[in-house]
Symmetry: C2
Subunit: 386 residues, 2 copies
């Protein structure tokens, strides 16, 4: 610790005037940390990959919810950012991020109103739709506001939403193309389950089979003279599979920039572990109780780490620590086999089970170059799920 | 819907000037809802219960993280509020909530500094400790600041932190009592696992056995002339068990005010379901895709509901809907057996798996009397886990 009082640290964080004076040892815990070297390496690798394959990269903002990160990505070569919901896209737009694609259909009356306002502000924004009645409602709202909405038709190739590929999609595409205040801008084919399929070959099969009907649909539209250049989809697990699928023009991965234990477990191309990207995201915690020689309690529980995967946080730097949930506020560490002593007040760093929902628990991310805090970025779209 | 534009709703929410004009049909989704009738009934029941048994009630603020709720509870008869961490307690204090007990040991240098500042502001605040070196550090910090810290000794009766009951606790209590800038204020015996034990009789056994050593420790202290009136602990699952344990003087339950599917499953005193408190907390969502006749997608996934229990959200008002996770942003509804049609744009309400970490995902809670929004309360301590 550098000897700052908490009042001083709080003032630095409030004003953003940290100027390289804070280190990881100065941060109140639990804290969300970003290793900038690993993050920049991950971003560089994905940008090069997409460039080499002639694909656009529109990384998913639901992963980071952080305008600074969205801007970093576009400066590195991304065409924009995906946003899960209109409210998330609004935050990105307020911070100057353009090239937005909202990846949930815009259905409720309020969502339509907000989408129209966003399109008026940034006319390159893309909106998802998968239903004829909804498309007509969007056209009517756009007409009333005097804007044109760019529509991407979501195809049901995963296990979630979307219009059925083939004729139903063609029919919807023709409807969109026929409506004066909508512009048919592309197709989305997102198969999240494929990305999390364990084993590279199994993953390739899953993604190729899932995206097959999307590629067929794109050809069907072309044969019927419905122009639709964009086919967007793909994620971290299939980033090196989907470019080989004819017709895919854009990737929208998210987790690659941070990585997490879930993705680390999907298996690499060579049959070994998945090491295509580096672990850039961790949570820093403090030991707040040591009731016995083998049990340590830290200040990070289910409000500090996501719990949507059956995976537990893993300690960095000390081997043999076994984490288990200790409720909302605490984690329990079995330190019997720990490679170093773990004592009251010690600070320990953990890799997170799943990055996106973990980030969504925090208001800011501390960006470190080695031990020095280079920046503190607000997670400004945290909680924006509307 | 009442016909407001989103811009109007946003303005009302920003200013707080809602004046009974909004209903549940006007809220952007996903939204966290509080049924005020059920909430007030739960609070009234717990206040009466504690009064009848001569116990103090200090409900746990980690459940709601909402100053308005903390104030409502003290006005109803609670002696104050528990807070999981110092940062949570600070938010309550900023909003005028007194009688705070911080239920995580104050260990890190910053936590100590913040605790001392809080004690200077509100000298009735209670802080947890379970370790001799830490207690000495607290005394030194209190001396430097010219304050007295009220210390509650945490006993290791659950499966988490705390000093071992019996002689180790006596030794620590004597140390606290001997230090000039600390005041020994009580013992905490919190056994969270007992509260979630399924079956009333099993729960009674678990809690009685867990709290036994705490009661013994309190007697041991008394025999050695160490004055310690307060013995705090207990939670929603054991609220009607712990008052029968001699020596317990205060309950600190949280979930009773909201209830959730997890607590609904612990089994009631009569062998039937646990119905001691009413479900007051729900999440409102919208159907954003209906890809097939049997599958509907809503806008609430793992960023809208907690996932720390192996329990899925349950629809209110429509029977036979089966929810499954559809990723961070969406839920998948199997509507094959639904008792009513579920169509694109429909709004559906869900009971949550676990209340505390669900509330921690939202920035505000909409308080409803029947269908009318009576108030919108900020969840001001959301994310305050430091």
């Amino acid at each position: 610790m550098s000897g700052y009082s908490y009042a001083e640290v709080e003032r630095m964080l409030a004003t953003g005037d940290i100027d390289g004076r804070l280190t990881r040892h100065d941060l109140p815990t639990p804290a969300l940390l970003l290793d900038l070297d690993a993050f920049e390496s991950n971003v560089g690798a994905m940008v090069r990959h997409c460039r080499e394959h002639g694909l656009a990269l529109r990384p998913h903002g639901k992963t980071h919810k952080c305008p600074e990160i969205a801007r970093f990505l576009t400066q590195a070569g991304a065409v924009g950012a995906c946003a899960a919901k209109v409210s998330e896209a609004e935050v990105f737009a307020q911070h100057g991020v353009t090239g937005l694609l909202v990846t949930t259909p815009v259905v409720s009356r309020y969502a339509v109103e907000r989408a129209v306002a966003l399109a008026r502000k940034q006319n390159d924004t893309l909106f998802l739709a998968d239903h004829a009645a909804n498309v007509r409602a969007l056209d009517a709202a756009a007409a009333e506001a005097g804007v044109v909405l760019n529509i991407v038709i979501d195809l049901h190739v995963g296990r979630k939403g979307g219009v059925l590929p083939g004729l139903p999609a063609l029919e919807l595409a023709r409807l969109v193309a026929s409506l004066k205040n909508l512009k048919l801008s592309g197709l989305q084919a997102y198969a999240g389950f494929a990305s999390h399929t364990i084993g590279y070959d199994q993953r390739r099969t899953a993604s190729t089979e899932a995206l097959g009907p999307a590629v067929e649909t794109k050809r069907l539209l072309a044969r019927h003279g419905v122009d639709c250049a964009l086919l967007t989809g793909g994620s971290t697990g299939t980033y090196d599979i989907d470019p080989t699928i004819e017709g895919v023009t854009e990737l929208q991965p998210g987790s690659f920039m941070f990585m997490d234990l879930d993705y680390s477990g999907i298996g690499g191309r060579d049959g070994g572990p998945y090491r295509d990207f580096r672990t850039a995201l961790t949570v820093l915690s403090t030991v707040v109780s040591k009731p016995t020689s083998t049990l340590a309690i830290i200040d990070g529980g289910t409000k500090a780490f996501s719990t949507d995967r059956p995976i537990l946080p893993e300690a960095v730097g000390v081997d043999g620590i076994v984490y288990s949930w200790g409720g909302d506020e605490h984690g329990k560490l079995d330190v019997r086999g720990a490679s170093a002593a773990v004592e009251l007040g010690d600070r320990l760093e953990f890799v997170v089970p799943h990055c996106d929902p973990t980030v969504n628990l925090y208001d800011r991310i501390f960006c470190l170059r080695s031990d020095v805090v280079e920046a503190v970025w607000p997670i400004a779209a945290r909680g924006k799920s509307q």
